[in-house]
Symmetry: C2
Subunit: 374 residues, 2 copies
């Protein structure tokens, strides 16, 4: 059994996910090493943020340095010198961006390789082949990801295609030691989400993911979409919310029953000077922090961010030392991981709801310097 | 006694330098945190390169975040969260660059503050005051640093002014727990170097430095200048070569009797893709390294750079992931520290000369991809 539920508290739960290279406790958050590199952070530093698993992008890796190269090297864990878990995303979201896509058909996606300028077809079967070569612990089915704001008819089409592609992915998934997750689409149309959840949930995936969310919908749309998905999926498999990264959304979704998260949100914000603190996000680039000698966070920290003062970090941003981006990024990742540790403690003690309310009250009570909700 | 010589082998030696916050074994190399930040590296990462001491720039710190701020915070060790030794340079070299300097007089330097645009006078006394506030273990006298290529008459003037300023620095040096080093000038005019060494060496400094070198002179000029300085300085004090950072120059100068080094050379080269290896420097951005699965260096490495392959580092540069600059910088610093460890071992075993010859032969025998000699 890949996934074991160890404790539940309402919909929130603690699970154990056994992968071929790591055993992970859920809920967990995955930072992103898009093309096998974390932005401004080494793999070693990521280890120190209490991160046990990250996600990389198989499609982008297939372009550079190449899935064959990574395979020949000894697969991605060895290539990146990482001893925990690794997911790869199929790259459905990226390949369907304006930058790459030429044509989307039932067969697959025709995209332009930005390096060779060649037009190429990328199918669900290609995605499986590429991800198997790269060798992550968990790979994702190729899905048809709609942008936010598409109409019902369009979304209906993506649900249908996502289901067809999911079956093709299952059929070309050979090495069962590598786990395969299916992705639920449906935009914020709750009936379409339910339909997609039922379809994808009927297939023998090792886990499921919420796709096409955290793309601009409001909180109520997002949480309703999660709920309807949870209600229509088998609950004995792990559930992964793709692309969710703001602390307050993660904590809400843990309460709704989500087990796994990933997002560029913590690090992208960090690079723009937004630092998560227990009392809400702050803009560390504000001049007043030069004279604030307190720690960036005295409760949520890792070895790399312990004893770093607001003054020092503000100064590094001020004089444009890029190591400021490193420290801010490590801190925001570490913050999410520490928050999830607190979540797990609360779940174990059957007090998740009150914990969540208190946590959010404190995070939101001070006059917010920065709005992090999308 | 601040400095104890533990072992000598010819002019090369191992010493123990007792500072107020650290006891350091010489010879050692100091990476540079110009404005209290290392370029692309955290203080924590620098620790892992086997670095025990670094240097920062007091003049630049006085502009931002301000020497008073650093003082109020609890001085520079606390501000940067560093538990080893710290030197500050007076900033003589920087303040006399075209970017800052307005007028150079016997009294001091009139410079333009780039942030406030105000013209300000900076005297040897100011330099001492600023460095005492910042609170490094070792501070440097303010000197008059000539650019390379100046004529004899000009250099003669800088020797005279450097001596006068040195005396003023000694006179305004109050806290004797903070060690003060004097700087020898003289360009590559050997008689002027000798004169400057005698003058500076006659003053009660805790150590001495070679200034105004590694600025464009050839090897023979550089080594002769070092020799004549060594011959004319008291040898019971530590000798610091300011701004020397190429592996082959450092190893030669250890042989000539230099104890301390600092330079941006290893990290600046790293950021341009030049990686030191035992078999000479390589240009990691070359396409061929994508397919080279060997370690960037299998002999000289630290925790952060161990098991990093040439392929992975080449790829990070290729896709412009800045963490490649981090890894390359850490490696080049670590390389110098490992080389100095080997130097110390050889000195202890009284075989420094043959060690140095073998080391240089191997470093230089392969067809050089990159010329690192200036």
């Amino acid at each position: 059994m890949t996934f074991k539920i160890k404790h539940t508290d309402g919909n929130a739960r603690i699970g154990e996910l056994k992968l071929r290279k790591a055993t992970l406790e859920t809920p967990f958050f995955m930072p992103i090493a898009t093309k096998t590199g974390f932005k401004y952070m080494t793999t070693k530093q990521i280890e120190q943020t209490n991160t046990k698993c990250f996600i990389s992008n198989a499609f982008l890796i297939s372009l550079k340095p190449g899935d064959l190269l990574v395979h020949d090297f000894g697969e991605i864990h060895k290539y990146m010198n990482w001893h925990g878990g690794i997911f790869t995303d199929s790259g459905g979201f990226q390949i369907l961006s304006e930058y790459f896509v030429n044509e989307l058909t039932d067969e697959g996606v025709v995209f332009t390789d930005p390096y060779t300028k060649a037009k190429q077809m990328f199918t669900p079967e290609d995605s499986m082949k590429v991800q198997q070569r790269i060798g992550a612990d968990v790979i994702m089915a190729l899905d048809d990801v709609p942008h936010y704001g598409k109409d019902r008819e369009y979304i209906q089409g993506t649900v249908k295609r996502t289901y067809e592609w999911a079956q093709r992915c299952i059929n070309s998934h050979k090495d069962k030691s590598q786990k395969l997750f299916g992705i639920v689409q449906g935009g914020t149309f709750l009936d379409l989400r339910a339909e997609s959840a039922k379809q994808i949930g009927s297939l023998p995936f090792d886990g499921f993911a919420l796709g096409g969310l955290a793309l601009g919908e409001n909180d109520s749309e997002q949480f309703s979409s999660v709920k309807v998905t949870v209600d229509n999926l088998p609950r004995d498999k792990p559930l992964y919310f793709m692309g969710l990264g703001s602390p307050e959304h993660i904590i809400e979704c843990v309460g709704l029953g989500v087990d796994i998260f990933d997002s560029i949100f913590p690090t992208e914000n960090a690079r723009h000077g937004t630092i998560f603190t227990r009392d809400g996000p702050i803009k560390i680039t504000k001049n007043k922090y030069l004279n604030d000698f307190s720690s960036i966070d005295s409760e949520y920290f890792c070895d790399e961010t312990k004893n770093i003062s607001k003054s020092y970090l503000c100064h590094l941003f001020d004089v444009d030392e890029k190591v400021g981006l490193t420290i801010a990024s490590l801190h925001n990742i570490c913050f999410i991981q520490c928050m999830l540790d607190d979540c797990k403690k609360a779940i174990r003690e059957n007090r998740f709801d009150s914990f969540k309310d208190e946590w959010l009250l404190r995070y939101g009570t001070t006059k917010r310097e920065v709005k992090t909700k999308k």
